[in-house]
């Protein structure tokens, strides 16, 4: 066992997945969804992405429960044989590292666009990676505890922002519902569901949760909570910005800047900054952690800490060189991210589960 810590379901299945998805989703997703689904973006988030997220959660937990105490990197060879299994494990590790680099890129892209245009991107990347190294070396328990208070800060900031703009929102901008049928809504749901599917992290975290039988319930709650929160943010953004939502780079940020209550409660974009920096720090740390853990298990190391720093260097460097400009990030999120993410979130875990059932590998049918 590489990770000695034990965490409970509230921390690791409710809050951690929430923070592993929301921080970037809440800024990038409303505009991306609006491009396809227009005023029905909230439906994409509340229904389409949630259904996908629930499916991913179901598969991931069912799969994990067949192999108690093991992560996907460990049990994939058991299911598929040593070569193919190791390949799948390596695939996941690659995917975690790549995604984490993208997350750091998104983080610096937003800060550079909105707050600090003069700061070089590498500064954000290096400091975020440094912060994450400390968290990762601290272990899962540390990340989970940090997550608990960041969760409170995150929700509070969001509630304040949405609460303060709601008074001059025009909710009829959400009409007409399903103007062009369900197709645009599903299309608009592709990128959000790729975000939501990041709950697949549970493949790596499940072994360290103290009551894995109850995890599914918590994970479902987490996915639904994300759906509600994102849909709310999108409803408010749409009713404020109407058809302009899709033209804005960060609707929620524009929303926060627009707040003016009684003429003196203004300029609350700092709340966005708090949400963003605190939330993304946890998000980066979680992905980083599972990447380091997976890498250590892949090479049968006794400890994952030695690989933490090298991965951090890869992360910082890669995040800078991944994209040419911030528009490329968004294009990638719209076009390449969904199929790429869906493969690792639903396709591979489903195949693993199918093969495991067929070859009667792992624990009992009802997930003992």
């Amino acid at each position: 066992m590489l990770e000695g810590g034990r965490v409970n379901n509230r921390q690791a299945a409710l809050i951690l997945p929430f923070l592993a998805v929301m921080p970037t989703a809440v800024l990038f997703v409303p505009a991306i969804t609006a491009i396809f689904a227009k005023q029905n973006g909230w439906l994409s988030l509340l229904v389409v992405a949630t259904v996908f997220g629930l499916l991913v959660a179901l598969v991931a937990v069912k799969l994990g429960l067949r192999f108690p105490g093991q992560t996907v990197v460990e049990y994939a060879p058991e299911i598929l044989g040593p070569y193919l299994g190791k390949l799948v494990g390596a695939g996941f590790v690659f995917w975690f590292i790549h995604l984490d680099a993208v997350i750091i890129r998104e983080y610096s892209a937003f800060l550079m666009t909105a707050f600090m245009p003069e700061t070089p991107q590498v500064v954000f990347a290096v400091f975020q990676a440094l912060l994450a190294v400390i968290a990762v070396r601290g272990g899962l328990e540390v990340i989970c505890r940090a997550g608990e208070w960041v969760f409170v800060v995150f929700i509070l900031s969001l509630v304040i922002i949405l609460g303060l703009v709601v008074h001059d929102a025009d909710f009829t901008e959400l009409l007409p519902v399903l103007e062009n049928g369900v197709k645009p809504v599903i299309h608009g749901g592709l990128t959000p569901s790729a975000f939501r599917g990041e709950v697949v992290l549970m493949l790596m975290l499940l072994p360290y949760i103290n009551q894995p039988q109850k995890t599914l319930k918590y994970l479902f709650a987490s996915v639904i909570l994300m759906g509600i929160t994102l849909a709310q943010a999108t409803v408010v953004a749409t009713s404020e910005f109407g058809i302009m939502t899709e033209s804005l780079t960060f609707p929620l940020f524009s929303l926060a800047r627009f707040i003016s209550v009684f003429g003196f409660i203004e300029r609350l974009e700092s709340l966005i900054l708090i949400m963003w920096v605190a939330g993304v720090s946890v998000k980066v740390a979680v992905f980083y952690y599972v990447a380091a853990l997976g890498a250590a298990q892949l090479f049968n190391l006794k400890d994952y800490r030695p690989v933490a720093l090298p991965i951090g260097v890869i992360l910082a460097a890669w995040s800078v060189s991944l994209f040419e400009d911030s528009r490329e990030v968004v294009e990638w999120l719209i076009i390449s991210f969904p199929p790429y993410a869906h493969t690792f979130q639903l396709l591979i875990p489903s195949l693993l589960l199918l093969v495991a059932v067929l070859r009667k590998k792992g624990g009992t049918e009802n997930g003992g």
Binding site: F115, L175, P176, G242, I243, M244, S254, R257, F258
Partner: protein, 405 residues
């Protein structure tokens, strides 16, 4: 152990760099805080140029009264600096050849667009400003009759700066009189972007104060110019189609249910000489679209409330039957205001400022899709059914006017 501890401490100290976020810095005394921006198109030597005027506050002169008792020399707390350029942003940046400080737009209150720009097309303005991260989308958007620069060069009468004066008129003055209507930049942009909805914006003009009026700040009296905000600029697509006057503006505000307060003079047929005034205290409206056999009808319900504010005649007015009659007259007047406004918008400007098309789309997307192409041809023929309900709640502090005996 010792080494590890030192390293840990150094790492922890390096984290202090993050909360400060200090890569570059902006010192307050090196920033020029722009309170109002004016935008014009001008012709310089046969070439069209953008002219951007910045009204910048001079904090050092904010405290004491300008032009007071000799020494002051009329130091104004505002500095108007004007730049020219081929694009809006270039013109704005060209100001910096004369500005010792860096422009800071986060405290922008007022955005004035010259008439010529408005006739040229407002999409240019939208395309310029929504991209700027330092721009809050909150400033009031006004269209100047004439040049925006001239508006910003006017003198404030009561406030210290013109930007506060204009913002004050919009926030405190207009809601009381309802003869002008200003929107924040965001809402204006949204009107332009929304299909089936044309835009309106506040109209601002220079007004020459009447002979006896004195500005609060002292200053030159004879030729000073003040600003007045009344009426509305009406846009068709993104071009200025024309101006609405007081009466039509009030009608417009009743149609969209945005009248907060107003004073409506009323001619009562049974009075010999004098009129009465009703102080209006609130309004609501509901606009519903219906399509029957390819014809669009808009049903507009207006609910307005008011109170007697001025009755000169001493005949009995404070009895329920008379109040009913007053209510009926009031309803007739509001209906006529609304009709005038709708007629002007439909026939003269052919601009869908009430968002009939947008409202149609919300309830009947199918019909809207069929009409969207030809909406500007259909719009003038849209039938409007007005239903006005008024309530006069009371007679104020007197019952009947006491007679002179």
């Amino acid at each position: 152990m010792e080494v590890k501890r030192t390293l840990g401490l150094l790492l922890a100290l390096s984290l202090l760099l993050i909360p400060g976020g200090c890569w570059s810095r902006d010192e307050i005394e090196k920033l020029s805080i722009v309170k109002a921006v004016g935008l014009d198109l001008v012709n310089i030597g046969g070439r069209a140029k953008w002219q951007v005027s910045h009204s910048i506050i001079q904090p050092a002169n904010m405290g004491h009264q300008a032009g007071q008792q000799g020494g002051g020399q009329g130091q104004k707390p505002e500095w108007l600096v004007v730049g020219l350029g081929d694009t809006i942003r270039e013109a704005e940046r060209n100001n910096s050849t004369r500005n010792p400080r860096r422009d800071y737009l986060d405290h922008l209150f007022i955005y004035v667009v010259g008439e010529k720009v408005a006739r040229e097309g407002m999409h240019i303005v939208i395309g310029t400003w929504m991209r700027e991260p330092g721009f809050r989308l909150r400033p009031w958007l006004l269209v100047a009759e004439g040049q925006a620069m001239d508006i910003l060069a006017a003198e404030p009468e009561l406030e210290r700066t013109l930007a506060s004066e204009i913002a004050g008129i919009i926030e405190n003055g207009l809601p009381v009189v309802s003869k002008g209507y200003a929107l924040p930049f965001k809402d204006f942009a949204l009107q332009l972007a929304t299909p089936g909805q044309d835009a309106v914006a506040a109209r601002v003009e220079l007004s020459k104060p009447r002979g006896g009026e004195q500005p609060a700040a002292g200053g030159p009296e004879a030729d000073r110019k003040a600003v007045r905000i009344n009426g509305m600029a009406v846009f068709r697509k993104d071009r200025l189609a024309g101006w609405m006057k007081d009466r039509e503006t009030l009608g417009y505000l009743y149609v969209i249910g945005e009248v907060r307060e107003a004073m409506i003079p009323l001619k009562l047929p049974w009075y010999r000489r004098d009129d009465v005034s009703i102080s209006m205290t609130g309004s609501r409206s509901k606009i519903k679209a219906r399509v029957e056999g390819g014809r669009v009808t808009m049903f507009i319900d207006i609910v307005a409330e008011g109170e007697l504010a001025e009755v000169v005649e001493t005949n009995e007015i404070a009895n329920p039957d008379t109040i009913d009659l007053v209510e009926r007259e009031l309803a007739r007047e509001i209906r006529s205001l609304a009709e005038d406004s709708i007629r002007q918008a439909q026939q003269e400007f052919r601009a869908d400022i009430f968002g009939f098309g947008h409202r149609l789309r919300k309830v009947n997307p199918g019909a809207w899709k069929a009409m969207e192409e030809n909406w500007y041809d259909i719009y003038p023929t849209v039938e409007v059914v007005l239903n006005v309900k008024t309530t006069v709640r009371g007679t104020g502090m007197t019952v009947n006017t006491p007679g002179i005996r």
